[in-house]
């Protein structure tokens, strides 16, 4: 495998680095498949590798006794393993792949060393830490403020931002788990959205038909964190 060239990188964090900072990471980047349900970071366990997805979507979850509930998502706009950027070696949350893809990984000590040698690299990743913090805060806002239809719309938009095309391969059961709602609540909401011709829901597959309408339905639950990402990182998702 040839070393990755920055121009052909799909991960927005890596592609928006300065050429020098990218060059400092390049020898350490290892291509990896990111399989469905693959755990990238175990809770309360030292983080061995940091991941930069090129495709696919990973989920940050709180694994309580009642099941997993999602608090954040990461795709090609971000990285999995932010505690390392903050000088922390572990997190209480699990990170796993909810939509399969592929990406790059770097050993945590190699990233730490590169950040120690380059303030601009560290600052770049810290800006992403803030963008990620805003996204998780918006999840808290949506959970407190929005009904299931709007939360579902927000969540589908976040998936749509991170997949190629319009197909989102997820079951109702999985979405229910992620939103912290019983499955029939998600089924009704999908049924309503399907009736409005916003999407098509087949077993295990949701196809977005009308993104604009989905944004309308999500209302103020979607958009703020995405705009903040663009402002902070100087690049779209």
């Amino acid at each position: 495998m040839h070393p990755p060239q920055q121009l052909s990188i799909g991960n927005r964090l890596l592609s928006s680095l300065s050429a020098n900072d990218f060059a400092s990471l390049q020898p350490h980047l290892e291509p990896v498949p990111l399989d469905i349900r693959q755990v990238l970071i175990e809770p309360n366990t030292p983080i061995a590798h940091v991941y930069f997805p090129e495709a696919g979507m990973s989920s940050v979850t709180n694994n309580s006794s009642g099941g997993k509930i999602e608090v954040g998502v990461v795709g090609r706009e971000g990285m999995v393993g932010l505690p390392i950027v903050l000088g922390i070696d572990q997190t209480p949350y699990e990170h796993f792949m909810q939509i399969a893809g592929h990406g790059w990984r770097i050993a945590a000590p190699d990233l730490e060393q590169a950040m120690a040698q380059s303030g601009s690299l560290h600052r770049h990743l810290l800006r992403y830490a803030q963008a990620s913090h805003v996204q998780v805060s918006e999840t808290a806002f949506a959970n407190a403020n929005s009904d299931v239809e709007a939360r579902l719309a927000r969540w589908l938009l976040m998936c749509h931002d991170r997949v190629e095309g319009d197909d989102i391969p997820l079951t109702h059961e999985f979405i229910a788990m992620m939103l912290g709602v019983r499955r029939p609540g998600v089924t009704v909401a999908l049924h309503v959205l399907e009736g409005m011709q916003v999407l098509r829901a087949k077993r295990g597959l949701i196809t977005v038909l009308d993104r604009e309408k989905l944004e309308e339905l999500a209302d103020d639950a979607y958009g703020l964190s995405e705009a903040e990402y663009t402002r902070l990182m100087g690049t779209g998702r």
């Binding site: 109702h172 709602v181 019983r182 499955r183 029939p184 049924h191």
Partner: protein, 80 residues
Amino acid sequence: MPRYFLHLRYPASEDGFARDDEGDEIPDHKALRQHVIETARDLMRGARLKAIPEWLQCTFEVTDESGTVVLTLPFSDAVQ
């Protein structure tokens, strides 16, 4: 383990029927009733939907794998 499908009938201007294509694996009929009651209670407690202003007007129609209705549970029956 047998799989049961929890279809939801809800009041709406038209077509208030959310079909469950995924289902849940439940060991037996007694456990099924308990599962359906708990699901209804959880929805009433926590799921705020525009489409369903009043969960108490909803009914679960549960079918087995052959499509036969094996249990009909109005949400009002799940209230403690």
